[in-house]
Amino acid sequence: MPVRRVQAADIPHVITLDTRVTRLPKAEYWYEIFRQYGEQRRHERFFLVAENPMDRADSRLLGFIIGEIRAWEFGSAPCGWVFALSVEPKMRLHGIGSALLEAISGEFKKAGVGKMRTMVARDGRLPLLFFRSEGMIAGPYIQLEKDLD
């Protein structure tokens, strides 16, 4: 399945897919993400899309993944962070998430980093199962938080 860099023409499809998954339309946000991650600092920011090889107009985009190389935050050496991944609900369990993750891993490796990270809600069972099945394990950091009174 073809995975490539996002193009401006993909954004309406990204918005449609994201709205279907999250039920929260946010077109402005996605155009801004495209500007930041699709057009700027492309050597360390990666916004990739999986295309439908059938090229059907109603589901041209099967999924997308966004990540970037971040360095020295929390004392961490440069590493690739995946911070968004979405797959067309009807097309899940067909290897699309795996293809997207493999593609962005390749981009991170080409950029010279040897580690990839993401963050998943502890009760986010399906994303957890997915990332685990891709060989990701708990990293050396623990996320902490507190309520601000």
């Binding site: 190389i69 971040r70 360095a71 020295w72 911070f83 991944l85 993401t118 957890l128 199962l129 997915f130």
Partner: protein, 169 residues
Amino acid sequence: MKLQISTRLAIFAVLELTAREDRQLSVAEIGEKFGVSSHHLAKVMHVMGRAGLVRSIRGAGGGYQFAGNVRRTTLLDVAQLFEDLSSIERRTEAIDATPEGQTLSEVLNEIDDIARATLGSITIATMRKLIDRRETGRARPRNPPRRTRDASRAPKLKAITLFRGPDQQ
């Protein structure tokens, strides 16, 4: 974290049964592989049979077969047949009602939550993949570590809080 011996046997047995599709093995065969008594293993298999994780095939050449879905069954599904993995208040002594006792309970619950999330995130298929990778790694020397980039050239990047999983609604 320590698992009961029954839990470990159950996990090993499931991994052995799922090493090849439609594999069926006797208790003696599994026991021999891991050097454990057939008596203990038989009890473990019986519990898993009742839970629907394995089925027993009778007759000549019979044995046990995995009856679950390797991509859906997690280590938690197996472990909770033999372990108490709940975070429900386990102690009811007076000291546990004190602020100290309640605070300690919160810490212990946090540990339990992480343990459950970890066991619940690893399917039998994922375990098999990890085992295969380890076996392949033994057979082949690992690649040398990749170089990381020069610190002085590293970009300062802002924190991002967005995350959307592939299956999240």
